[in-house]
């Protein structure tokens, strides 16, 4: 059976429970479902923020996520995979990103979810701007995210 990833980039919030159910409901071949929700925090580097605004490169963002989803499907025996990334203005406490993976065994589900999150952080064309008391400013990329992504590179 060929597994197709569900990929969505949207302004609207998502419902983690529904996405998990959509992947696993009525299935008896799935033994493990991992979900990762990335949530907007109320501070960045110790500074309170009012909101984030997420910008993306339409077309390329979908293609990049699709490419990494396909790579995950080829590297791990997954039975389902969903990636949702929000764009637009997002306030503290709101969801930003969701990855859900389903597999017969837990290790594949965990690893594939971590792989996709590491790549979304470093390779998918999204940019975060924060609003704080000092005005708006773009969040800088972090070196440890690159290091996290590098561990998946096949040598």
């Amino acid at each position: 059976m060929t597994v197709a990833a569900t990929i969505r980039i949207q302004d609207a919030d998502f419902d983690v429970a529904r996405e998990i159910a959509d992947l696993s409901k009525g299935r008896i071949d799935i033994g493990a479902v991992v979900s990762f929700s990335g949530i907007c925090r109320g501070s960045e580097q110790g500074e309170p923020i009012a909101a984030l605004t997420l910008e993306h490169y339409p077309g390329m963002a979908e293609a990049e996520i699709q490419r990494h989803a396909d790579e995950a499907l080829s590297r791990w025996p997954l039975q389902g995979l969903t990636v949702i990334h929000r764009v637009g203005r997002i306030e503290p406490g709101e969801n930003i990103v969701l990855v859900v993976t389903a597999s017969a065994h837990r290790q594949a589900a965990f690893e594939a979810a971590e792989f996709l999150m590491d790549y979304l952080k470093t390779s998918a064309p999204f940019w975060k701007r924060e609003e704080s008391a000092r005005g708006p400013s773009w969040i800088e990329a972090r070196g440890h995210d690159d290091a996290a992504a590098a561990r998946w590179t096949k040598s």
């Binding site: 990334h85 952080k121 390779s123 064309p125 999204f126 940019w127 975060k128 701007r129 773009w138 800088e140």
Partner: protein, 83 residues
């Protein structure tokens, strides 16, 4: 060819996209950054640290030495901060 700008590259240049026709000696992405940077103050500001700038040709990440011949759409942007 169409050029697109994102995040602070877009903000500094003051536009999201434009069509440019660089001369034939502008062969690589790095050449194009240099050529764009010479177009004016806003461009010079956007590209003041060329090593920080990431690029994509036809929606695929490329390095500065990538050839731009035949490209339909070239995008410039800061390091990505999604997820």
């Amino acid at each position: 060819m169409k050029v697109k700008y994102f995040a602070w590259v877009r903000e500094r240049i003051g536009k999201a996209e434009e069509t440019v026709e660089p001369p034939a000696e502008v062969r690589t992405v790095g050449d194009l950054i240099g050529w764009l940077a010479a177009r004016g103050e806003t461009y010079a500001y956007a590209f003041e640290k060329p090593k920080v700038i990431r690029a994509a040709i036809d929606q695929t990440h490329v390095k500065p030495d990538a050839a731009i011949l035949g490209a339909r759409e070239i995008a410039f942007f800061p390091p990505m901060t999604g997820g």
